[in-house]
């Protein structure tokens, strides 16, 4: 199920004079799933003896948005591109925030109220890095990764959510 990505290629090529064992190493794993995200299975993926800080974020289907009551959410993805973008962002976060490990799982299809549509975990030597990485990743994912959410409200109405953004 997991996609294990190669190390930080950009860093390696720009630091050719650095001994290989000094090149930062990290583990990035991302995937899309179509069933409930198995959180217990993900825990060991961010363990590292030099990581004193582990952080997790779960985005969960919420019952209420403004005045409307959500019955369920459904997520549609461009699956190949979504995994590529998630992997790109995971690698960028690992470099930018000096993470030891990172895992991102996004669920597609129906996600009932109370269940997680996305789980992100990361680990780092100190807590500042993990605390900075998680909000950055969520912001980027919500801007860049080709996944769309369709609300189904309790009154039966449905709508795709397309936050209007500037085109880059």
């Amino acid at each position: 199920m997991q996609r294990r990505l190669p190390g930080p290629k950009k860093l390696q090529s720009s630091l050719l004079s650095v001994a290989v064992e000094q090149v930062p190493k990290f583990s990035c794993q991302v995937c899309l799933v179509q069933k409930p995200i198995d959180i217990a299975q993900l825990q060991p993926l961010i363990s590292d003896h030099d990581a004193g800080a582990h952080g997790w974020f779960y985005g969960v289907t919420r019952r209420r948005t403004g005045d409307k009551i959500t019955a369920s959410l459904s997520y549609q993805a461009h699956p190949v591109m979504a995994e590529k973008e998630l992997a790109r962002l995971a690698n960028e976060a690992a470099n930018r925030f000096e993470l030891k490990c990172i895992v991102i799982v996004h669920r597609t299809g129906e996600v009932p109220v109370g269940e997680a549509s996305i789980v992100i975990g990361c680990s780092s030597p100190h807590r500042r890095q993990t605390f900075a990485a998680l909000p950055w990743l969520m912001d980027e994912i919500k801007r860049e990764v080709p996944i769309w959410k369709r609300e189904t409200y309790t009154d039966g109405s449905q709508e795709w959510v397309h936050p209007i953004t500037e085109v880059t």
Partner: protein, 81 residues
């Protein structure tokens, strides 16, 4: 020339399918694809102004030529997470 374009979310619903075949000039850009789609799916014209184009799973600017792309996808504003 005839090309197939992948559609998603409300654009897919409006067009009634996950792929649409459209006719574009030989040296068409991403902007030309969006423009042709506005004619073919006029009820999504406003949304299309906010869409990005991805060639072979990479976002490109509207000025990019689509020549050589194996896959052309229209990416409406995303709402994952």
């Amino acid at each position: 020339m005839q090309i197939n374009v992948l559609l998603f979310a409300s654009l897919r619903d409006a067009a009634g399918g996950d792929v649409i075949e459209i006719e574009v000039p030989e040296f068409a850009t991403a902007a030309d694809v969006l423009s042709e789609l506005k004619d073919r799916v006029p009820e999504s014209a406003t949304l299309l102004s906010s869409c990005r184009v991805a060639l072979d799973c990479r976002y490109v600017s509207n000025a990019t030529s689509i020549a050589g792309a194996k896959e052309i996808a229209i990416i409406p504003p995303v709402s994952g997470g």
